[in-house]
Assembly symmetry: C2
């Protein structure tokens, strides 16, 4: 391979070969001549590409018979040349005046290049419902390559990411140490009167300082930490108001090591929790424990959801939402893999090496509670939790 | 208006009315019966909606004759009920089993609701090239509402955001104080041997702690700070390696107050800069100053680009990229407004109240330098800079 720059690739050549092989097999099953990958998580998983450039059109073209081609904005080829495993001639840039121009669309450039590769009449899979493939991107491709077909390949690569290699699990264990450190800091720092943004500032600092000698990366979602009645809303961020006595706050965070996440949620009550919170906590913990028991190879995603639901039902709590999703490598705006959902209708069989955020958040009409675990499906036995912290509502009287 | 929850809206009712009025006028010019807005920045600008839920399908429906309707995942209605100015009956949720399901798509739910509003044969503008409107989303809408038309309304709302109100400028000034604080911290902390992630940890802490008594929000892009030859690549993030003597590092950051950004970049050289860096610095500062002079009401976007280019040309530096973009309210993955580009081919006339990141980053083959300003076009005279810090390469011998 011809490389101008030294590269510090996160994974071995064998690991990238494994990923490419899985993807090509899936392309073959889907009858694709080529695959156009725009999801930044899929791009990074396949090639190593790492940069905050996904706000412009870019992607990776996977072909059956040659190495993937990274394509993006000219100025970002410098980042690609430093981060992808392919040789430098597999990094292609388009001119800067294609960026956010009303007169020319970057996909025109891509389509012309695809034609140059002999793909004028090919079946080119596209991720029609992944980030960041816009409706316009597909229109320009289909207009420019009128004789090609663009079958839907949404989540094709995402599905290949489900079972983690030993190398990936090592990264997730490092992320888990960061998640634990963040939660420890929260339990120590959250007090009535402390402005919420100040606590977030320390979360972000802890996250990026890292843990156990490993540096911290940015998580694909910012910390979420609504309090009291606002905790009914799962995706509110923060403001400058102080924590108050008599309120529960859930903290949804994830440590991240080289783009690998282990989300982890705990809740803190300032004061003496009312009975309904205690009842919910007990049911939730019972449900989590039942779910962890059900989360074993050979069982189905739905088994976890059913195991969780039983004790919650007995406590009169109806969640109405899925209770988890696969995790691993991610870029904003989501740290989920968007394949399996832990819900009663999902019959996917669990396999060793799969990793999930088992996330039975309770978001009720005017309160909320989150106690969650990032888990690994093992060869036999119940799921292993990545983090090791008390599975409880933390109470600070 | 009927509101179940207390709301802490960032802007006055008059400000939201101004925005809606501008948008409806643009819809009228475009001949639209309705407008479907998915860009989270546009959603927030129109309605106040604020939450990290843009990883699932959601949006705002703008109609000529009634208040906008927020539509999203059921669990996120709780966030919408707390953050949008419309009455609670204008917040609509779809069931959780639509989320990332292979069997049903959220846009089906939306299309049925659009039909219920009498839009079966309407012209409904859609943001085909904004975040996060996927190709699949458009397919499902067009399949389900076969007699409706979905003309492209990309950037229709973005263009209305260009001229900032006094309320918005107040927010941007608060963000600017945060930007200055971050840069001050960097100049103090960056030293040879200090791991990069540790410096980022302090940036993020400073950003969210806020400044001048105002809390800090998360920026739409994480800090970018490549060093030495890596500074050729504008969008690399960080790792755990230490800063080194004999290297320039650019720092691209933005303070953010309630989603309003003032990006600000400075570079730091550890050691004695070589002549080529000093020459580039001098040309860049001369170009910035010429550009600020050209950035006045009545001039054109291209005038700024030309003014910048002249001294750079004399120094033999060809940038090959636009030198700025409008800024204000933003969500990940970009803090630009994606309308005007400061480039020689953009003839948009500058108007008082427009705000830009004047961003003439130098990303050369094996080095890089960033010295930038967030600016406000004034009634008369040169542009005003939001931040007030020396316009220079910081050198720490």
């Amino acid at each position: 391979m011809d490389h101008k720059f030294h590269k510090d690739l996160p994974f071995s050549a064998a690991e990238y070969a494994r990923r490419l092989s899985l993807t090509r097999k899936a392309m073959d099953v889907a009858g694709l001549d080529a695959l156009w990958v725009t999801d930044p998580s899929n791009m990074a998983w396949l090639t190593g590409y790492d940069g905050w450039s996904f706000y412009v059109h870019q992607g990776v073209l996977v072909l059956p018979d040659q190495d993937p081609i990274w394509w993006g904005r000219n100025q970002d080829t410098n980042g690609a040349l430093r981060t992808v495993w392919m040789s430098d001639d597999h990094v292609w840039g388009y001119a800067d005046n294609y960026v956010q121009s009303p007169d020319r669309h970057p996909m025109r450039d891509l389509a012309v290049r695809m034609a140059g590769l002999g793909l004028e009449e090919a079946r080119i899979g596209v991720e029609t419902d992944n980030y960041y493939f816009s409706a316009k991107a597909l229109m320009v491709l289909t207009e420019t390559l009128a004789r090609a077909q663009f079958p839907d390949a949404t989540a094709l690569v995402n599905w290949q990411r489900g079972i983690k290699s030993a190398e990936e699990i090592t990264f997730m264990r490092r992320a888990a140490r960061i998640s634990e450190k963040i939660i420890d800091g929260l339990v120590e720092r959250v007090e009535p009167g402390i402005p919420k943004n100040e606590v977030v500032a320390e979360i972000l600092r802890d996250a990026v300082m890292g843990a156990d000698g490993h540096w911290g990366d940015y998580a694909a979602i910012v910390p979420l930490l609504p309090s009291g009645t606002d905790a009914a809303a799962p995706h509110l961020t923060w403001d400058g108001r102080p924590f108050e006595k008599g309120q529960a706050t859930f903290f949804e965070i994830a440590g991240c090591y080289r783009r690998y996440h282990t989300p982890f949620c705990r809740s803190i009550y300032l004061g003496t929790p009312p009975d309904f919170i205690r009842i919910a906590e007990a049911a939730l913990i019972e449900g989590l424990e039942a779910g962890l028991e059900a989360a074993r190879a050979g069982n189905r995603a739905s088994d976890i959801a059913h195991a969780l639901a039983a004790p919650l039902d007995r406590a009169g709590i109806e969640r109405g939402a899925r209770c988890g999703y696969p995790i691993g490598l991610s870029y904003p705006p989501d740290w989920g893999e968007r394949t399996i959902s832990l819900r009663t209708e999902d019959e996917t069989v669990l396999q060793p090496g799969m990793t999930f955020h088992f996330m039975p958040g309770l978001w009720m009409a005017d309160w909320g509670l989150e106690i969650t675990e990032s888990i690994l499906i093992t060869e036999d036995g119940a799921a292993e939790c990545f983090c090791d912290r008390p599975r409880q509502l933390y109470v600070k009287p």
